[in-house]
Symmetry: C2
Subunit: 299 residues, 2 copies
């Protein structure tokens, strides 16, 4: 079954100890698509400006991403510039130009409204909510957010929690939202807010997944040359949601496998700038590394 992702399409400028890239194709919906496309048809809902290069549109199409609901506006494309130092675990934002994001109101083609799997990547919770209004028949909804919305649109976000199945947070967001420093406790508090399933991403330290009495943990796949971690979380979500979209039953076994795929997809993402690595992946590449990974955590 196909999946619809709502998020950003951006032009990213990234500096890491391994180099500088200017105005690369980036954004949460793009990173998500690069891994989700390996499992299923991905429909993208986002907005770009007049300055968005035609070659990026072409590139996304070639990768099989359905762009019927990508709005092309007369303004400027969302731009983010950041730098990673030292251990590359934390991005230092140098510049953010929201541009067309300020006017973004998702438009979903009628034929796309029956899509059953949805991922709301990080944008304003009001926009995320608006998208859900267009999608009445969903079976699996994932939600991501960020600290900015947790602090500035908390009520809208809490309302949204009641409408989604999986909330995907990083450790800091989970702590900020709940006031709980212990991540298992934080996950349990988040479940009480609505989502049946809570996935906490800890970057290089892996993930924790909680759903009722079911708790599952995975370390990250060990990568010894991290080039650019931008988009690793969205790539994780794309692998995770992409795999689940193909499953009839969402049970413990499929969730475990989905977390494995997400982990491996993210490990490829950090090995190159932007979507350099993930855009060249085949499912067999994921499968192969997943086999190595399984051996690496099996005892």
């Amino acid at each position: 079954m196909s999946i619809l992702v709502l998020g950003t399409v951006a032009l990213d400028t990234v500096k890491t100890p391994h180099g500088l890239r200017k105005h690369m194709l980036g954004g949460s919906a793009v990173h998500f698509s690069m891994s989700a496309r390996l499992f299923t048809e991905v429909h993208l809902s986002a907005i770009v400006g007049k300055d968005f290069p035609a070659r990026h549109i072409e590139f996304l199409r070639e990768k099989g991403v359905i762009l019927d609901s990508l709005i092309r506006s007369s303004g400027k494309t969302f731009k983010w510039a950041g730098e990673y130092k030292g251990d590359l675990n934390c991005a230092l934002t140098k510049d953010t130009q929201l541009g067309v994001l300020l006017e973004f109101s998702p438009r979903i083609e009628p034929r796309q409204r029956k899509i059953k799997n949805i991922f709301l990547a990080n944008v304003d919770p009001d926009i995320q909510s608006k998208l859900l209004d267009c999608m009445p028949g969903s079976r699996l909804i994932g939600l991501d957010s960020m600290n900015y919305w947790i602090h500035n649109k908390r009520q809208a976000l809490l309302k949204l929690f009641k409408r989604v199945d999986i909330y995907v947070a990083n450790d800091q967001e989970a702590r900020d939202l709940t006031g709980e420093s212990n991540l298992i406790k934080a996950a349990r508090s988040l479940e009480k807010l609505g989502p049946k399933m809570v996935l906490i991403k800890k970057g290089e330290h892996g993930v924790i997944f909680c759903s009722g009495s079911f708790v599952f943990c995975l370390p990250a796949y060990p990568v010894d040359k991290v080039i650019d971690p931008t988009g690793a979380g969205d790539t994780f979500a794309g692998g995770f949601m992409g795999y689940l979209s193909t499953r009839k039953k969402i049970d413990r076994m499929s969730i475990k496998r989905a977390l494995g795929y997400g982990t491996i997809a993210a490990s490829f993402n950090v090995e190159g700038f932007g979507v350099e690595k993930t855009s060249r992946l085949w499912l067999t590449d994921l499968e192969k590394r997943l086999g190595v990974f399984r051996d690496l955590v099996l005892f």
Copy 2:
């Protein structure tokens, strides 16, 4: 085969959000012994002062720890006071009174000198080195240290690296020693310094083990009520080394299992103050939780 641990026996005063305990039995050698004793006979080499309560000696004996090389001196027992706030990941040292540690020179009974498995818990690298001089026939030597020695006795520590099989570090120590922020790279740099095997502990984020081309990762066992993390690293080492001491062959499979046991032992340690929990454990308790843990990371 039995194991000898060199380290501290201390009186710990610990404050956490869950309470305050004054002058509890603590120290690296004690925490190590509590988990290692579940696998094999543990011999302890340490020093205490005149003020060390007889009931603690009795308690250690009851737990099966061999105290023939525990020196009782006329000075004051080593005392540490610390506090944990917030997420309990980081101890704030309030007071350290080295006392008899300043005069410590390990004395090993002749009949103990044939012990094949040795763990050098965190003390001055010169003392660790002295202990090794007494133990000519060892087959497996583990080494722990801390930032203080990395910065103040770097040369002595580097010399010691050539004499040990496994170096056990936490993430910060591994980074400080090597200048590498990526932990896989740090582990590989550490291997080049001498130890064939490097184990990096990441607290609530689990462990990474590296030995040549063999890399193994485990998340921590998820604990939702952390009471007091003091000694978790030593308890981990005790489970890890304790299990390995019983193995004829130290191969990938036995190392994986040993890491599992270490992880589980540490998870019990943090659930109570001091050795409250670990001193009451049976091997079957470890086995049981290990089964749950295996299910929790198996995908």
